[in-house]
């Protein structure tokens, strides 16, 4: 109830629509609207949908019409060409970035409708034009406009084998910008999501199958990411005050638990073998209180190799019910950790960007929209500093 969810760009909007389908469209819940933690009293969702082209939201017109205020849908035309600079600065020669202003108006209006404004959650991709460029600019503007609110971004990293030739430049520039303005970055990866989607459908990875698999493995990937988010961010009993009404502060508590240092804010929801600064485990469906009695916490602590300077490296929340529908099992454990394997990804992005800059490739497209080589250098310095921070423990 304290969060405004903003979805920017094609990836952000596709992911966002899956998230809302998971969280808000259960017909059983519509009778008691307060059940959905991300809507306000009039039943409208606390959401802002932003895109620079209208096609992505056409499909979901029916769903959106009833649930989202008209003023919260901000669209433009023509796309942003997969270019961070175009998304960040707007049209070539345009005085004011019109789309940005309309987007900020919508965000402000939505924030004013909250009973208590805690912050925003921004869904976007790192490698495109709108999601990455406009998303970065929005983060900065929101930080300026609401200095005490939190910003949690859900950033989707591209396939490493190549989704767009500009993906390294775009990822570099957006990571550098967002790391400065946001409080936490939940990083998801298209490669891992795809592997998950394929194992779920029973298709072994790497096989040459001729049968068309189920409609939209992109949908399955997005559902997986949305359910990871939901596992962490839906109300939990541990954080609900005794009155029974959740404040919806899970995202902010998440940030407080898992981001102990401002120089290292990138979070994963998968386990890994690197050293972790902090871990949060959210257990749903814990009606028999077995989570405490199990060795899960001990195993997590060992598996994560937590840093020595953090006296309470593992935080946990529990909830007796598993709200994520009956398609999931009755118990669900989601783990969010802040660990150093992210430096591998950042390093890859910085190295590839350096090579491309050295060859002078695509630079004229960025210069056309106001981003010079010095901006690239600055972004590389920021990312190198993050890599160093993660590497130093």
């Amino acid at each position: 109830m304290s969060t405004v969810v903003i979805q920017v760009g094609q990836c952000g909007n596709q992911l966002g629509l899956e998230w809302w389908r998971l969280v808000a469209s259960d017909p059983g819940q519509s009778r008691d609207i307060l059940q959905c933690p991300f809507s306000s009293r009039d039943g409208k969702l606390a959401a802002v949908f932003i895109d620079s082209e209208p096609k992505v939201l056409w499909d979901a017109k029916q769903f959106i019409k009833n649930k989202v205020l008209d003023s919260s849908i901000v669209l433009a035309r023509g796309g942003r060409g997969g270019n961070w600079a175009y998304g960040y600065n707007g049209h070539w020669g345009e005085e004011n970035n019109g789309l940005l202003h309309r987007a900020m108006d919508a965000v402000r209006r939505e924030a004013e409708r909250r009973d208590y404004y805690g912050g925003v959650m921004l869904l976007h991709s790192l490698s495109g034009g709108t999601g990455s460029g406009l998303g970065s600019k929005l983060c900065e503007e929101i930080r300026d406009t609401f200095p005490t609110g939190h910003i949690l971004t859900v950033s989707v990293a591209p396939h490493q084998s190549g989704e767009s030739p500009l993906q390294h430049y775009n990822s570099l520039l957006s990571l550098a910008s967002i790391h400065r303005s946001a409080d936490g970055l939940l990083l998801f990866d298209n490669d891992k999501a795809m592997t998950f989607a394929q194992t779920l459908q029973g298709v072994p990875t790497g096989s040459l199958s001729t049968v068309m698999s189920m409609a939209g493995s992109l949908t399955v990937m997005n559902t997986h990411i949305a359910s990871c988010m939901a596992g962490l961010l839906l109300p939990v009993q541990s954080l609900t005050p005794t009155s029974g009404w959740s404040l919806g502060s899970e995202p902010w508590e998440l940030i407080r638990s898992v981001c102990p240092l401002p120089a290292a804010k990138i979070l994963h929801t998968t386990q890994a073998n690197s050293s972790s600064r902090a871990v949060l485990a959210v257990a749903r469906g814990n009606s028999d209180n077995s989570f405490h009695l199990s060795n899960a916490l001990k195993k997590l602590k060992k598996g994560h190799r937590c840093v020595s300077w953090n006296p309470f490296p593992i935080d946990h929340w529990t909830d007796p019910k598993n709200r994520l529908g009956d398609s999931c099992s009755s118990r669900l454990l989601t783990v969010c950790s802040n660990h150093s394997s992210v430096s591998r990804f950042l390093d890859h992005v910085v190295q590839r960007s350096k090579e491309m800059l050295r060859a002078g490739a695509y630079v004229h497209w960025y210069q056309r929209y106001g981003v010079e080589e010095s901006d690239f250098e600055l972004a590389m310095e920021t990312c190198s500093a993050i890599i160093q921070e993660y590497g130093s423990q």
């Binding site: 082209e53 209208p54 035309r77 023509g78 767009s164 030739p165 795809m194 298709v203 004229h364």
Partner: protein
């Protein structure tokens, strides 16, 4: 939703353009069953109701009255345009969109570019402005012309530089038909080299197409449909050379070849018109595939060429479609991209294809395709959910590859052969505004373009891995 305007210049340009409009109407009729004027239609057509007072333009969401193409037709002789206006497509164009003259350009670039270019400058700009004003959000100009003639090559490139002057922020995508070596126009090397310089300077990206490759593809399909076993009959409207189901009457001689180019344009714009899981707008093509401003020649290849009619025969595997796209028989110019260096490659898929299929095929094909060292992940992917007419899925690959270099070198050689002897030069120099310096600048531009490609190719040698050494069992 964005709009595009098609400018067709010269005989070849207008003939290809005519096929394009026919196939575009066929495709939209196939998809749009309700007769509502929707966003997809508005990208190439206006909806006009002449009974209304304000000039007739209708908004999106209404019923279709009369569709008018967003096009400008230019030709310096009347034959081709008159044929179009007497054919079944006459309703689609109105007289304000046409510009004709009577005497033609005599296969002379200078006459087209300088004489007619200056004489008709205001009229051309006026017609372009009018077409642009009818658009809410104009994103792209498509120019269709040939390089070997006079009007298409000369006046066409003049139109291109006018487009850059008047509409600098609008993308310019040029489809150029390059002459084959056995071309019957003697002066085609001069015309092509002079036009190529303009394309390098003023276009955002160029899709070169060669007549010989189109002929080869047509022959391949005809061979498949006439020869072969009965089970391998091709579904009538699915071959990319067929105009089946369109408005056009009896098939004319170049129709099969022109249909291929028309299909190319339809596939490039499909993701901008229809929905899909990975949308790719027209401005993304230039921004993602052109790392250096002058190297904007993208080799197109289309698959599948046809689908089999017999439903009992299993459809060719999806993966075969991806492999075919990189086969030199499917390229629309004679080139061998697999043995040259890729700067970037776009895969625009239409139909019921999943992201996982796309990723799997990219992984599979990557090892055999040499990419430049700083762009090893230089793939741009687009997924549109609407397949073309007659197919369940299709793929258009646009490769920015150094394999265009041999085509340019060939052109340079043919030009030099004529220029050394100063053959036919007087026809050009007689034209007002034309001097020797125009020729020498054009040659310099071509040489430096070839040099830039050479420079990139030189980096390829560093990429070649060592041959694996035999392990000797001891």
């Amino acid at each position: 939703m964005t709009q595009s305007v098609v400018v067709q210049v010269g005989q070849c340009g207008n003939q290809v353009g005519c096929r394009f409009w026919d196939l575009a109407l066929r495709e939209h009729a196939h998809v749009n069953k309700k007769g509502v004027y929707d966003e997809a239609l508005s990208s190439f057509f206006r909806n006009v109701d002449s009974r209304r007072s304000s000039g007739g333009a209708c908004d999106i969401g209404g019923r279709i009255h009369y569709l008018k193409a967003r096009a400008v037709l230019v030709d310096m002789e009347e034959g081709v345009v008159n044929e179009i206006l007497q054919g079944p497509l006459r309703e689609v164009f109105d007289s304000t969109q046409l510009l004709t003259d009577v005497s033609g350009s005599g296969n002379n670039w200078a006459v087209g570019h300088m004489t007619y270019g200056s004489a008709y400058r205001e009229q051309i700009v006026d017609k372009l402005r009018r077409a642009a004003e009818h658009c809410d959000c104009l994103q792209c100009f498509f120019l269709i012309h040939s390089m070997g003639g006079g009007t298409g090559s000369g006046l066409g490139t003049r139109v291109l530089s006018l487009l850059e002057e008047e509409f600098p922020e609008v993308c310019r995508i040029v489809t150029s038909v390059f002459p084959s070596p056995e071309d019957d126009v003697i002066t085609s090397p001069y015309n092509s080299v002079l036009a190529l310089r303009e394309l390098t300077e003023h276009a955002d990206c160029v899709l070169p197409v060669e007549n010989q490759s189109l002929v080869d593809i047509v022959n391949k399909i005809k061979h498949m449909s006439h020869g072969g076993k009965p089970a391998s009959a091709i579904k009538r409207d699915s071959a990319i050379i067929s105009g089946q189901g369109g408005l056009g009457g009896a098939e004319k001689p170049f129709d099969a070849m022109n249909n291929i180019v028309a299909n190319l344009l339809l596939n490039i714009t499909s993701s901008a018109r229809f929905q899909g899981s990975l949308n790719m707008d027209l401005n993304e093509i230039a921004m993602n595939l052109v790392p250096f401003p002058r190297l904007h020649y993208l080799v197109p290849s289309l698959t599948p060429l046809y689908t089999l009619a017999d439903v009992n025969v299993p459809t060719r595997r999806l993966d075969q479609m991806f492999s075919d796209a990189f086969n030199k028989d499917h390229q629309l110019i004679r080139a061998d991209p697999k043995h040259s260096l890729y700067l970037a490659c776009a895969l625009m898929v239409r139909g019921n294809v999943q992201v996982s299929d796309l990723r799997r095929n990219i992984e599979r094909l990557r090892p055999s395709l040499p990419f430049v060292s700083w762009n090893q992940e230089g793939w741009k992917t687009g997924l549109c959910s609407v397949p073309p007419v007659g197919h369940s899925h299709s793929l258009l690959a646009l490769a920015n590859n150094t394999c265009v270099k041999p085509t340019f070198m060939d052109l340079q050689e043919r030009f030099t052969k004529l220029y050394r002897k100063k053959a036919y030069l007087h026809h050009y120099l007689h034209v007002e505004g034309m001097e020797h310096s125009v020729f020498s600048e054009a040659v310099t531009s071509l040489s430096s373009l070839i040099e830039e490609y050479n420079h990139l190719d030189a980096t390829k040698r560093r990429l070649m891995p060592d041959a694996p050494r035999l392990r000797i069992a001891t």
